[in-house]
């Protein structure tokens, strides 16, 4: 018995020594390099603030001396964030630059569904952690096939199902129109929604129109949907188009049950450009998992105070109404949590740490929503709550809907 213990200890010590001596690319005793791609230009550039938030977050930590990590060493975190313009081949080029030229230990919160699709295989072939993707597609949580890729936010299909259930319950004789972005993101939402409608989907959906991310406007689609006599409008668009759709629906006085996907729920980025009065008269409903920064009910919570103080200090010019700052702050906080609790900074070690988060609450998620991951659960956040826009802010109603069973 004692011999086996001794042998096991020796083996562990040898392994430890080996892993300590075999330096992970991008990790030294005083720095860790982490890569990110964000759309600082192009059609999705309103999401660029997420990448900017990450840069500001880690700059502040580095200026304070760095982060004490789970292996006892204090390191600076060098975030290298490159512009991919939301173009998949550009993402491939930038991520290869990060991995092969800059030598990052991992990538973090790379943004976009088509863009992450383009690097999905590459990251897994290279065995580089591809963590906390800023996209809600459902395909990022398959550790059996893609053990190096992990999502972050609640997935779109789950959110779609929440809306479908709400529409079925609250609208008599629903006639549904769906406007969706013609890509993985849009189709995930659409398919989750249709699946939850069940067999009746064909009858209930009277109009289903796609748009392209390169289109100038979606005005024509809105007119067509209004003309179809629909009384439920499932709006699956990114902020620029969401604002156009809300504005147009308002102009022509079309008043369906307007279900706005969470992707565009930002008051600053979507509802202000669409017009707050307009957004109110549309009675917008969305599902949320983030604390809306413009909502006074959060002002006294610890998480909000922490974020708010941080914004004052580090991003004083940032638009407080834009929920993307809160999104970025959450993601960086989760990364910080993982680094603080990680003892093994080999690449498999980093993945293991990311897959071992227990009941961690992020500062800017709704109270009661917790981050959980395991070696078989690569979906960190999975709960949401419905809310309605009252002209100023989103007002939550109903229970927190936890979809982790899906």
């Amino acid at each position: 018995m004692r011999l086996t213990t001794l042998m096991a200890t020796t083996a562990a010590a040898v392994l430890f020594a080996a892993s300590a001596s075999a330096q992970t690319v991008g990790v030294t005793d005083d720095t860790i390099k982490i890569g990110n791609t964000s759309p600082y230009s192009g059609p999705a550039s309103s999401y660029g603030v997420i990448g900017k938030t990450h840069q500001a977050y880690w700059k502040a930590i580095n200026e304070a001396g760095g982060l004490k990590m789970g292996d006892g060493k204090t390191r600076k975190v060098e975030i290298i964030s490159l512009d991919d313009g939301y173009s998949p081949p550009k993402t491939v080029e930038q991520v290869r630059k990060l991995v092969e030229q800059e030598g990052v230990a991992m990538t973090f919160n790379t943004l976009g569904t088509p863009t992450n699709s383009a690097i999905h295989r590459y990251m897994n072939a290279k065995k580089v952690p591809h963590l906390f993707l800023a996209t809600g597609a459902s395909k990022w949580g398959h550790p059996d096939k893609f053990p190096w890729t992990m999502g972050f936010q609640p997935t779109y299909d789950v959110e779609g199902a929440i809306y479908a259930a709400y529409a079925l319950k609250n609208v008599e004789n629903p006639k549904i129109a769906i406007l969706f972005q013609n890509d993985d993101y849009g189709k995930d939402y659409r398919d989750g929604f249709l699946k939850a409608l069940g067999d009746k989907a064909d009858k209930l959906v009277v109009k289903m129109l796609p748009y392209e991310v390169t289109d100038p406007t979606v005005d024509a689609q809105v007119l067509e949907m209004a003309a179809s006599g629909a009384n439920v409008f499932f709006n699956v668009t990114i902020p620029k188009f969401a604002a156009q759709a809300i504005k147009k629906a308002c102009e022509i006085d079309w008043k369906p049950l307007h279900l706005l996907n969470n992707v565009s729920s930002s008051v600053g980025a979507t509802l202000k450009p669409a017009g707050l009065e307009c957004s109110k008269s549309q009675g917008l409903i969305t599902a949320q998992w983030l604390k809306d920064p413009t909502d006074p009910q959060w002002a006294d919570t610890d998480g909000f105070k922490e974020w708010s103080a941080w914004m004052d200090k580090n991003m004083p010019d940032g638009d407080r109404g834009d929920v993307n700052y809160a999104f970025g702050y959450n993601a960086s906080t989760l990364l910080k949590h993982v680094l603080e609790n990680c003892a093994d900074f080999s690449r498999p070690g980093i993945m293991a740490c990311a897959a071992n988060i227990k009941d961690f609450e992020l500062p800017m998620t709704l109270p009661g929503i917790k981050v959980n991951t395991s070696p078989t659960d690569f979906y960190p956040v999975q709960a949401e709550q419905l809310s309605k826009f009252n002209g100023e802010k989103w007002v939550l109603f109903g229970e927190i809907i936890d979809a982790s069973s899906h």
Binding site: S41, S87, E93, Q101, P114, S117, A118, N182, D183, K187
Partner: protein, 328 residues
């Protein structure tokens, strides 16, 4: 420079030296840079096609992204659905885009100058949508795109990136030589005659429709081959990758490199691949420097202002000037 260069000893030596340098280059730089150079060559091949069409035949196209996409998808589909090898698939991509270009050239023939440009623009705008179209989804993979594994190295000791680089280099050199031969043949002279004066060309007995559509087909074929190479380096095709910007990139690269030249395509390819990175680095030096795209725009304006004939045009003028100085 309205005519392709004659072979002079200096040109031949320069050409061989350039090829020799290109052959050893992947062993001097990282795999990542090799991959970027391969991307530059894939763009370059497409730009060579545009140079033939616009520079030597006088037909405008701002829709070469469509043929680029046709080649990219042609190759990807042959690999994914027909189980072809990557190199046979390049041939398929070439054939496919030639036919596509030739057929598009037939009606487009009746259009001149701006109107042809507009028609090709329509093609460029329609391409991403067509690729997403539900009816083709079984083939194109719709919005999900298709994964294309990088071809295995041809020789032991080479990395996949290096191997692909040599394939691209061989194709690029081959196509440049072919282009040179075409332009020095009867057909090439016919192309240029049509550009310079279509009426005179017709009176001389040149079959205008045939020459123009064939030129369009060849140009599209080059773009398609470039697209296939681009796909192999990116290992992924998706509709959003072939938006109108790609057509603009090809045109910008052609003009920057020197649209009435053969070697200009090399410089054009290098420009569109490396200049955005340079712009990114420059804009990161000081906070008062505007974002990368503004820097890129300024570069573009400067190049056009100082070397309006493109980089190769500038080199040729410099060479001629040096020669005059030495003689005088």
């Amino acid at each position: 420079m309205t005519r392709p260069n004659r072979i002079t000893p200096a040109l031949l030596i320069g050409f061989l030296a350039a090829v020799g340098f290109a052959v050893i280059l992947p062993h001097l730089v990282s795999n990542f840079t090799t991959y970027q150079l391969t991307l530059a060559m894939s763009w370059g091949v497409a730009m060579l096609g545009l140079n033939v069409l616009t520079g030597y035949n006088g037909q405008f196209s701002i829709g070469h992204s469509a043929f680029f996409a046709a080649g990219a998808y042609g190759a990807a589909i042959m690999i994914e659905h027909a189980g072809w090898g990557p190199y046979e698939a390049i041939a398929a991509a070439a054939g496919f885009s030639f036919i596509f270009g030739f057929l598009f050239g037939l009606p487009a023939l009746r259009l001149e100058g701006l109107y042809l440009a507009l028609a090709t623009f329509g093609l460029a705008v329609a391409t991403p949508q067509l690729l997403k179209f539900d009816a083709f989804e079984d083939w194109t993979g719709g919005v999900q795109g298709i994964f294309v594994p990088k071809p295995a190295p041809l020789l032991e000791g080479l990395s996949a990136d290096q191997s692909l680089y040599y394939v691209a280099l061989a194709i690029m050199v081959f196509l440049m030589v072919i282009t040179w031969c075409i332009l020095h043949s009867r057909s090439g002279r016919a192309m240029m005659a049509i550009r310079d004066n279509p009426i005179a060309a017709r009176t001389m007995g040149i079959n205008l429709p045939l020459v123009k559509t064939t030129t369009f087909g060849i140009s599209a074929m080059f773009a398609g081959i470039g697209g296939a190479l681009f796909t192999y380096s990116s290992e992924f095709v998706s509709p959003d990758a072939f938006n109108f910007f790609i057509a603009v990139y090809i045109l910008v690269g052609s003009v920057i490199g020197g649209i009435v030249s053969i070697p200009g395509a090399i410089f054009g390819g290098l420009f569109v691949v490396f200049m955005p990175h340079v712009a990114e680095d420059v804009s990161n030096i000081y906070t008062f420097i505007p974002p990368p795209w503004a820097v890129f725009g300024v570069f573009l304006i400067l190049v056009i202002y100082f070397v309006p004939f493109g980089i190769w045009g500038g080199i040729e003028r410099l060479a001629a000037w040096t020669k005059r100085k030495m003689a005088g």
